[in-house]
């Protein structure tokens, strides 16, 4: 098809103006969505993960909406540690006598939302700083990259714990920003290296000679070409950030009291008797965390393959 079209023009052009106005040759390159769909069909595990994740996320978000705040804050010692199935508590109750199902849903909502916000903050700053240093290069780039090299080797969990302990008015937004402070460096590096190669492509030069400003070139020309990379990075960081928040909450330096988190739920297991004799208290949140994080990483792998043709399965 393409051959034929070109030769026609070729003949008509010899010496004079071509009469045929040729349209696009149908060189079918599948759209990103089509590629993602095909990769999912090739990878059944990822497909199942995606379905589970979608069901879990939707359930958590909608259900959490109907759980009153009192259900997760009220203390009712009489109902302490009820076994699953008793008095209508499907998964039993915890130390404070709260229903474990409601706790799980409310905690999951908080943990997911916080991880999501941190990922957004990390992507926002990571992408902007990466675009600027990769595009302008030079001395600013050298300095910022040295700072990031240094920042990445810092023991960030320790620093977060110190910050969390010394910040006076402390709520979930404080936690989000403190973790966010350490969430953008990896993204910056990734974006920067991609921008370095994109900025050396001729379409950027053509944009310069077309009179577009640096700002326009960075955000309107280069940024759209980073879209798939950003999606992959956000997905994988999201799983990582769930891990960081739950770890901190587990250690007691995460969400403040009264804001349940999956990490706080798991920390019930620090009591040796609970750990040994009451697995129904801490096993559900552990399973929840594992399912979510493993599922996200499977889905993330599909996005990554779809974004990078060399890794594709089909």
């Amino acid at each position: 098809m393409s051959e034929k079209n070109e030769t026609q023009v070729q003949q008509s052009v010899q010496g004079k103006v071509p009469e045929i106005k040729d349209g696009a040759v149908i060189v079918e390159t599948p759209s990103t969505w089509r590629t993602i769909k095909r990769e999912f069909l090739k990878d059944k595990v990822a497909l199942v993960s995606a379905i589970i994740l979608a069901v879990v996320f939707v359930t958590v978000i909608i259900w959490a909406f109907f759980i009153p705040r009192s259900a997760v804050t009220n203390v009712n010692i009489i109902d302490q540690y009820l076994t699953p199935g008793t008095q209508g508590h499907l998964l039993g109750t915890d130390e404070q006598g709260r229903d474990q199902v409601k706790m799980l849903i409310a905690s999951a909502r908080n943990s997911l939302m916080i991880a999501f916000m941190i990922s957004i903050i990390g992507q926002f700053f990571g992408v902007i700083v990466g675009l600027i240093t990769g595009y302008f290069r030079g001395i600013v780039d050298t300095i910022i990259m040295r700072v990031i090299d240094f920042w990445i080797v810092l023991p960030f969990l320790m620093i977060i714990i110190v910050l969390v302990s010394i910040v006076p008015k402390y709520n979930e937004w404080t936690l989000i920003w403190i973790i966010g402070l350490f969430a953008w460096q990896g993204t910056t590096r990734l974006i920067r290296s991609k921008v370095l190669s994109e900025a050396d492509r001729d379409y950027v030069r053509a944009s310069k000679t077309s009179g577009s400003s640096n700002f326009m070139i960075m955000f309107r020309e280069i940024l759209p070409n980073l879209a798939s990379l950003i999606i992959v990075d956000t997905t994988l960081n999201f799983a990582g950030n769930i891990g960081i928040e739950t770890t901190l909450s587990f250690l007691g330096f995460g969400l403040p009291n009264g804001t349940p988190s999956l990490g706080t739920m798991v920390s019930a297991a620090t009591d040796p008797t609970v750990l040994a004799t009451k697995p129904y208290v801490w096993v559900p949140p552990v399973i929840f965390i594992i399912v979510i994080c493993v599922g996200i990483s499977f889905v993330g792998q599909v996005f990554r393959r779809a974004a990078d043709a060399r890794q594709r399965l089909g």
């Binding site: 023009v9 070729q10 696009a24 379409y203 009179g211």
Partner: protein
């Protein structure tokens, strides 16, 4: 015969950086003392093997590369400073066509957005006139107006290069730098794109600086040819000067490298090439200084300039 552009002693030296703080440790002398003049409406050819600094000169002229020293005068005004170029909307008048047509079109933009970009930035037009102008440009390069809504990967190499041409001529420029515009295309499509450029050059009266590594291609495009090697011009003249009376060993070598479809004389051609190569190796120390760089050019006729060692001008020219 109005002079459009004058390049005076242009030097572009790229720093080579290394070490922890990325300090400058050396330079690449990509363009090293280049001078020439471009007249309105004329086409010029710039030839040399890969790495000789052709693209560097082209990029310096359109303002994509910072120049180390020298002057670029456009209509008598020095345009080597970015602020000057921006103020006078320099790139409305001086445009570029790139070698790799795929890389030069943003894969995420439609053909309409690509062609309209210079129009939006340089000619303020209302939406409707802008659209009419894009359709007209597509028509000039022989593409249907449906192409507007499509993306670069949906076109063949030759069509993409024509889209690049449409973008370059969108603002009615006075000079276009065409940097190896066909060398990435199939041989069968090269002629088609070259014919397009020739036609557009004639009809619109645009000056062209046509860059190529292939003397065989340049012959079809222009009468005025400059040969460069390792950042310097080694020979400059008309088509006749260069093809019929080459003076520099490097020019002779480039000429002998033009592919010949001449089966009857294949052996003779091969022997000729070997002889030219032998001459090149033998006389290299004579034609280049101790650093391996070409000497300044001297005029040997009205139109013909050649780089020769300072003491042996007559000997070098007499051959």
């Amino acid at each position: 015969m109005t002079v459009l552009m004058e390049i005076k002693d242009l030097k572009v030296h790229y720093p080579i950086r290394s070490g922890f703080w990325n300090r400058i440790t050396d330079y690449v002398y990509a363009a090293d003392g280049i001078s020439f003049t471009i007249e309105a409406g004329k086409t010029y050819g710039l030839v040399g093997e890969s790495g000789s600094g052709k693209s560097t000169i082209g990029k310096a002229i359109v303002g994509l590369e910072k120049i180390t020293s020298g002057q670029i005068l456009f209509n008598g005004e020095d345009v080597s400073k970015p602020s000057v170029r921006r103020k006078m909307k320099y790139n409305k008048d001086v445009q570029m066509i790139f070698q790799d047509s795929l890389s030069s079109l943003n894969p995420k933009k439609t053909i309409y957005q690509i062609i309209a970009e210079p129009i939006r930035n340089f000619d303020k037009m209302d939406k409707e006139s802008e659209k009419q102008r894009v359709i007209q440009l597509l028509d000039i390069v022989g593409l249907s107006k449906n192409a507007m809504f499509q993306y670069p990967h949906q076109f063949s190499g030759g069509q993409r290069q024509r889209i690049g041409i449409a973008r370059a001529i969108a603002t009615n420029p006075k000079l276009i730098i065409a940097d190896e515009p066909v060398s990435a295309l199939d041989l069968s499509i090269q002629a088609q794109v070259l014919n397009f450029m020739k036609r557009i050059q004639k009809e619109l009266g645009i000056s062209f600086l046509f860059i190529s590594h292939d003397l065989g291609v340049v012959r079809h495009m222009t009468k005025n040819i400059a040969i460069m090697h390792l950042g310097r011009f080694v020979e400059l003249g008309t088509r006749e000067d260069i093809y019929n009376n080459p003076q520099h060993i490097y020019t002779k070598r480039l000429l002998s490298a033009i592919p010949q479809i001449d089966i009857a004389n294949r052996d003779a051609n091969k022997a000729k090439r070997a002889q030219v190569e032998a001459e090149y190796q033998e006389k290299r120390s004579h034609f280049y200084d101790q650093d391996g760089l070409a000497y300044p050019m001297h005029q040997i006729s009205d139109t013909h300039w050649v780089s020769t060692p300072p003491t042996n001008i007559s000997e070098g020219a007499g051959k």
